[in-house]
């Protein structure tokens, strides 16, 4: 059961009005109990994928299955076990959050009120106000309660932490890790890389409707380049280190600082600095954002993978 496939897509494609594919030949597999991050800029096809999975829109080609069931043929059965948070939550303005929760809870059945109250308490959310009075952050909290309240097998969350303050972001991360511990599966789209880095097991990177890569976060982070910032006492130019083997992306930060990316050993760089007075040397592991940008650097995914990943 641990490796049961929860989401499977085969050449899933969506073309709107005969234009350029919003999603092209998506082949993706998400296993039970994992938190899968779906990364990409706006317009990459993240929301299109989610809407296809929920049967809100229909594929132009290909198919998708959830829990082994076809998303077109058995959509209602699938949705019994899904919790969904849309990218932008719009609900009935004149209803209070409590009324909305009761309505959606009745529609689903089997929602535990005590658990709803517990979620609201953890998210510091007041359920007595009308929908129209909530800030975007509070709307997000309501959306999370609606997605989580029936303890679904699969959570599909579109930009879940957008609008949450840092404290709530932490609580959100905890909730996701608890869901994972309970055997629930999470599929979340995001462009907040720190969120993905903190909680995801695997990441799919989407660009222009095409899946560029799927890797474990651990593997993505195990890259052989580092970000180096060197502060000198005297003025320097990028030419000082730009020809050093393994050094790329050299830029000057003021007259006395250089930042660069270094692949491989430090020795050639240190030798090139011979004679210059170094006041400070700062080395950082690349963030997922750096890796993300590297993926979007213009080369093919395979070239990147060979280049970036160890």
């Amino acid at each position: 059961m641990a490796n049961q496939v929860m989401i499977q897509t085969e050449n899933l494609t969506k073309v709107y009005n005969g234009g350029k594919p919003a999603l092209a030949d998506l082949n993706l597999s998400v296993a039970q109990g994992e938190i899968f991050g779906y990364l990409g800029p706006n317009g990459a096809g993240k929301t299109t994928t989610i809407r296809l999975l929920l049967d809100l829109i229909r594929p132009t080609n290909g198919r998708a299955s959830i829990f082994g069931m076809d998303t077109l043929a058995r959509s209602v059965e699938i949705r019994k076990h899904i919790g969904f948070l849309p990218g932008e939550l719009n609900l009935w303005d004149r209803l209070t959050a409590r009324e909305i929760i009761n309505y959606m809870g009745n529609l689903r059945g089997g929602v535990n009120t005590a658990y709803v109250n517990q979620l609201a308490e953890r998210l510091n959310f007041d359920m007595t106000k009308k929908m129209r009075t909530y800030s975007s952050g509070n709307k997000r909290k309501l959306g999370l309660i609606l997605a989580l309240m029936h303890k679904p097998k699969l959570l599909i969350l579109d930009e879940p932490s957008s609008g949450l303050d840092p404290l709530m972001q932490q609580i959100f991360n905890q909730l996701m890790l608890e869901a994972k511990a309970n055997g629930q599966t999470v599929f979340l789209s995001s462009h907040v890389l720190s969120e993905v880095q903190a909680i995801c097991d695997r990441v799919g990177i989407l660009r222009d409707g095409k899946l560029q890569a799927v890797e474990t976060v651990e593997r993505l982070m195990r890259v052989d380049f580092r970000k180096v910032t060197i502060r000198f006492r005297d003025a320097v130019t990028p030419a000082l280190v730009s020809t050093v083997p393994g050094v790329s992306g050299v830029s000057a930060e003021g007259a006395t600082s250089l930042s660069l990316q270094l692949q491989g050993d430090f020795d050639p760089l240190l030798k090139a600095l011979n004679g210059a007075y170094v006041q400070d040397l700062h080395v950082e592991e690349p963030t997922l954002e750096d890796i993300f940008l590297t993926y979007y650097g213009g080369q093919s995914a395979n070239n990147h993978r060979e280049k970036v990943l160890s």
């Binding site: 949705r79 719009n90 529609l107």
Partner: protein, 267 residues
Amino acid sequence: MRGVIFAQTLRRNWLQALGWGLGIGMLGLFILAMLPNVEMIEQYQRLMAALPPAVLAAFGMSDISQLASAEGFIGFAYFSYVMMLVSAYAVVLGMNVTAVEEDRGILDVLMSAPVSRAQLMIEKFLAYLLLMVITILLTFGGFVIGSAFSVPVDLGLLFTGTLNMIPAALTVFGFTVLMGALLRTRTTALAVSVGFVVVSYFIEFIGSAASDTAAAALRLVSYYNYYGGGDYMTTGIQWGNVLLLIVVGVGLFSGGVFLFQRRDIGL
């Protein structure tokens, strides 16, 4: 769970239905309050009789003798025109079945629950249909109250006229649901539905006035033609027309369900 959408739709919209019912009912009350005596009705009949038949027909008056009674006057002055208001309400309800919530993005959340598109539409349709019937019945309250201040009127006949509005309203309701399902933007669906009501109205009354023109032939596609306004006072309820309007209304709604199940939501 079955029935939840139906119950929620009733709960959220009963106040609006009450407002429409009482508002339209006030018109009935006003019409009756304008009928202080039989002499005034006779004066009005003489005034109308002086008009050319084509002009009378354009006002929805096929038989001037109808005006000789209070009920006939009400049939002309109320039932011929109040159908426009009832139709407007039917358009509002029809838009609420899918178009409004789709436009606002609410359907995205609603359809993430284990509910089929057909179930969503059928439960809403039934709830709004019930509200529409209640609203129309509420309008009769205006006659009941107004009859205390007016010349004696046959409330049974006026109740029949009130019930006679339901099939036509169902047709408009079904048409609007179909447009909401067919056209993806709320404003377009609304514009086409309002256009359907207005064009039907004008086709009927222009066609009535000019029986040798194309408008007369087009009356066949105007639901107003089958509704008949205050004609039931002289002809009685035309059960064939009632049945036709009900079948067309349900058919249009079914077409809406069929289309909505086969298209993308929220684009």
